[in-house]
Symmetry: C2
Subunit: 306 residues, 2 copies
């Protein structure tokens, strides 16, 4: 049975994402203590895949994931899923709203339902927990009255749902990746994303040139983040998400160009986008154009006039 | 007495940063509940300046700050400071290490001293708090035995320092900005940083062109982050930190070019870098070259041959 490690504990948003990415009958889900432990389980072969959060529309990028993917034995993303960040409020069976004196959750979750709590439970004090799941455990134990959790938590703990689908920011969402050891790539679907990490030389214009290589081939970026490498001052590691699949000519050609230009390029996977997006490739950058141009060049090099 | 709002509560790293940025005798420090409340206090005139965290080498960018600066009435950064993320462990007077059964702090702080706790207090359970300062309060009240806090916390709470200067990652650091309402800019020092937010059109190459405008003028970037604007799909807001002062010709010229190219550019300030850096400006991009070229162009336009 394939094992999928996820950044746990049980009952968190990452478990919910892992369920969305797993085969319901075939895969076994295993909680890991940290993002890096989940990825390490894939590297050692203890797990076949890992589900990790990569970016949140409110909290930003997840540096622990970026660092875990950028260094160590290579792993590649084969799928992504996007979960709306909408919470449930869980209570012990029979608890009435008026009885709720304390609400617990991870500080990030408490921050994201701050307005809801002020409106619906104005007299309850908030208490921090190490995770949304730990909050559910504390309520189950009777330590606090209500827990703000991922919707999936109610499947693990015998608690009642006081409210669900709540969030101050209506469109908050988290994107998760399913990563595996390198092997065969997912087939291109026409709506794919490719993730890479590139380290550029410490020189004015190095990033501009890298992005020009992508732009000249009609490739759109969906994310860019810089992090210092910590190895050398002024040396940066860039995390790029771009639209397209490495099997496509323009993406492959661009990645090869980056490989020439950058100190280091790591391929982090080509995988279908969670929501289907239209990939408008300029006429000069479609696969047939690349192939015809290559044939023409070969002909010219063989002394034909083309 | 000038008032400086900071993301509180008292006794956190942001208070410590605010102290580093404030005039010790002249400024009054006022804690705000959130980053956006601290910035709002400047906008309303309730405070003269705000001290907010902008990026952490372990946790990454601080989206709350980025969002607070990117939208709403403009504010500009006039100074920055970088604090090493090194913690103290505070206990009630007389507590011996062997008596410590529980350690509390913000989950991020607990994560950043995980190894230290495993080595020095292996039998203590960890408990989440909403802030490092709230952890100190809970220890003071006798709820838990030890708190992991910013070093400044000991000045607010009658607790003893069991250990200080601890961190699993030796070089972890957080950068803070001091922001004010727009007015006169700090003088250029030769080691300055300029922060901007730019919204590009949804078009392949828009970012590459923007960075080319900077690179062609010999301007080095120290940070880039993308965030979706949430206003229109495919529209991104880029946060850029670059080396140089807007009063310098090359920086001013580049910002004017971005103003032409981007849907929106917001100037977030030019201020001295916390650590002095060498700004190697290419010969073609120094101020005198810009001025001589402008004079030459004027001459040519007046019918002189130059």
């Amino acid at each position: 049975m394939p094992r999928i490690a996820y950044f746990g504990p049980q009952g968190t948003f990452t478990e919910q994402a892992a369920r969305a990415l797993a085969h319901p009958d075939r895969d076994e889900l295993v909680a890991a203590d940290t993002v890096s432990a989940a990825v390490a389980a894939v590297r050692t072969g203890e797990a076949d895949a890992a589900c990790v959060p990569v970016e949140n529309s409110v909290e930003g990028a997840v540096p622990a994931t970026m660092d875990a993917l950028a260094t160590g034995e290579p792993v590649v993303a084969v799928a992504e899923t996007v979960l709306p960040v909408r919470f449930s409020v869980l209570v012990r069976p029979g608890t009435r709203p008026a009885e709720i004196r304390t609400v617990t959750s991870h500080p990030h979750a408490l921050a994201q339902v701050h307005d809801w709590l002020a409106t619906h439970l104005p007299h309850a004090a908030t208490v921090a927990a190490t995770s949304t799941a730990a909050a559910a455990v504390a309520v189950r134990r009777g330590e606090y009255d209500a827990a703000v959790t991922a919707p999936v938590a109610v499947e693990h703990y015998p608690l009642d749902v006081l409210a669900t689908n709540i969030a101050d920011v209506a469109d908050a969402a988290t994107r998760f990746l399913l990563v595996r050891r390198p092997g065969s790539l997912p087939e291109p679907t026409g709506s794919d994303r490719t993730s890479i990490v590139a380290v550029t030389p410490d020189r004015v214009g190095a990033l501009a040139e890298m992005l020009a290589e992508l732009a000249l081939r009609g490739i759109n970026l969906t994310r860019i983040e810089s992090r210092p490498t910590k190895e050398r001052l002024g040396e940066y590691r860039f995390f790029l998400d771009l639209i397209g699949h490495v099997a496509e000519e323009r993406v492959g050609d661009a990645l090869a160009a980056l490989r020439r230009r950058c100190l280091h390029v790591r391929f982090l996977g080509s995988y279908p986008t969670a929501e289907r997006i239209s990939t408008a490739v300029p006429a000069y950058a479609v696969d047939t154009e690349f192939r015809q141009a290559a044939e023409w060049l070969t002909a010219v090099r063989h002394g034909e006039t083309g």
